[in-house]
């Protein structure tokens, strides 16, 4: 288990930016980081997932790449951290990776491209948190916090990523990872993962 910040030391000669404009270097970094994907869902990039939050600094003083965890216990975070650091090293930059908790990651940050890619990969993308009864009820007043507890998400229509039918039913709140629920399509009878609103 590692701490919050780890620093990569690049070879000194390659850290020289060769006179490139700062904005050019930054877009080079973003382009390189764009190739990094979520280890659990290799079709979406860290940026599309909303995990990669910021790149700041400059070639002279080094860069800070800010990432934010999805679920608290997500085992992919260590891998993501290492992937980012290795990419920055390959580019020849001194860099550190900062893990930032606030503002808390939400599935609402996932881009439209990410939703499409998830669907094509066979995972139903998350509904917006505001539409999810789980989120809406709980943030209300304390005495009504549990109104969502008794029934599963039967009122939410989750479309099957295979056949697009919304005649689907939840099998289990928790699927192959903490961030997904397991659903079954009653039209094509395939099971599928649903990325839960968070």
């Amino acid at each position: 288990m590692n701490g919050l910040t780890t620093t990569s030391r690049a070879p000194k000669s390659t850290a020289q930016a060769g006179g490139k404009a700062a904005s050019e270097i930054l877009s080079e970094i973003w382009r390189a980081l764009e190739t990094l994907t979520d280890p659990e869902i290799p079709v979406v990039s860290l940026r599309e997932m909303g995990i990669l939050r910021d790149v700041r600094g400059d070639a002279l003083h080094g860069f800070e790449v800010v990432i934010t965890p999805t679920y608290s216990g997500c085992p992919a975070m260590e891998q993501i951290h290492d992937d980012v650091l290795a990419t920055m090293q390959q580019l020849g930059h001194n860099a550190s990776v900062v893990t930032q908790l606030a503002p808390a990651w939400t599935t609402d940050w996932m881009t439209a491209e990410a939703h499409e890619k998830l669907r094509a990969y066979g995972i139903a993308p998350p509904l917006a948190c505001a539409l999810s009864s789980t989120q809406a009820d709980a943030s209300d007043s304390t005495t009504h916090v549990l109104t969502f507890a008794r029934r599963s998400a039967t009122n939410q229509k989750i479309a099957c990523p295979q056949c697009a039918s919304d005649n689907t039913t939840e099998i289990s709140h928790f699927g192959s990872t903490a961030c997904k629920a397991l659903y079954k399509c009653l039209a094509c009878l395939e099971t599928f993962d649903y990325f839960k609103p968070y």
């Binding site: 701490g3 679920y71 608290s72 709980a138 916090v145 549990l146 969502f148 289990s172 928790f174 968070y198």
Partner: protein, 267 residues
């Protein structure tokens, strides 16, 4: 930086209380890994354990930063003994009622579900308040944890209704689990020194102020589950004040043995 004043000590103890709660229940529920009553529940329980252990990690990391002196999340989780843990006694109990001979035998899923419901519905209220903690890192941890505990409450609540309002056997087991565990919830409301300390300085919440809301939630779900709310009386446990049942030592022995036999091992 060593915790210098009473307020600092209360702050650290409170964070450790939250962290120990999460790690102990995470470890306990992790015992279902490979033994769940059905595959979906095996997966659900281990996923929720992962959430709890993740929350514990963030809290231990935060404590380690505050106390310095070489402390790490690992030293706090693996190298503290049972008598300094501050988790609620409720969370260290085995997955069965009082009269079973061996801790690993006769696991009763009703006990697991009832405990998860009693605890996660409390934490829903606690994390909600802690989002406004004067400790900004704790507030950030609370903002993440509340998203996770909502799913934990939903899971436990659904199962409580399914068991309570199910067959006569599942109903009786759920009621027995509730009768067994309810007295342990008294510990939630008997405020300790460190809890009073953080309630006044804005780091923590006044736990006793959450009791009404918690009981209303519980009553609501129990009615639908056709279960009777038992009276919580008798001995008030003191786990958060570091006096535990015999079960914590066994749980920690299993959790800590690897790290202790291979100190500073990396993998």
């Amino acid at each position: 930086m060593v915790a210098s004043s009473r307020a600092d000590a209360a702050h650290i103890d409170y964070l450790l209380h939250l962290a120990d709660n999460a790690v102990v229940l995470g470890q306990r529920n992790g015992e279902w890994c490979g033994h769940g009553p059905v595959l979906e529940e095996d997966i659900a329980m281990t996923n929720m354990s992962l959430d709890l252990i993740g929350q514990a990690r963030m809290l231990y990391q935060h404590v380690a930063t505050l106390i310095g002196d070489g402390a790490t999340e690992d030293s706090l989780a693996y190298f503290r003994d049972a008598q300094v843990f501050r988790n609620y006694t409720l969370l260290e109990l085995p997955h069965h009622g009082a009269l079973v001979g061996y801790a690993l035998d006769n696991r009763d899923y009703a006990v697991t579900i009832v405990r998860n419901f009693l605890y996660s519905s409390l934490m829903l209220l606690v994390w909600e308040r802690l989002q406004n903690s004067s400790d900004t890192q704790l507030a950030a941890i609370a903002a993440k944890s509340i998203k996770e505990v909502r799913y934990h409450v939903r899971h436990a609540g659904d199962w409580l209704v399914r068991l309570g309002d199910g067959t006569s056997e599942s109903h009786d087991k759920a009621q027995a689990a509730l009768n067994h565990l309810m007295p342990y919830t008294q510990e939630f409301w008997s405020a300790s020194d460190f809890e009073s300390g953080v309630a006044t300085n804005g780091v923590g919440v006044d736990i006793t102020s959450l009791r009404n809301a918690w009981e209303m939630q519980l009553q609501d779900t129990l009615s639908e589950a056709t279960l009777q709310m038992p009276t919580a009386g008798g001995f008030i446990t003191t786990g958060k004040q570091q006096v535990h049942s015999e079960h914590l030592t066994f749980l920690l022995e299993e959790m800590q043995s690897l790290a202790r036999r291979h100190p500073e091992g990396v993998w």
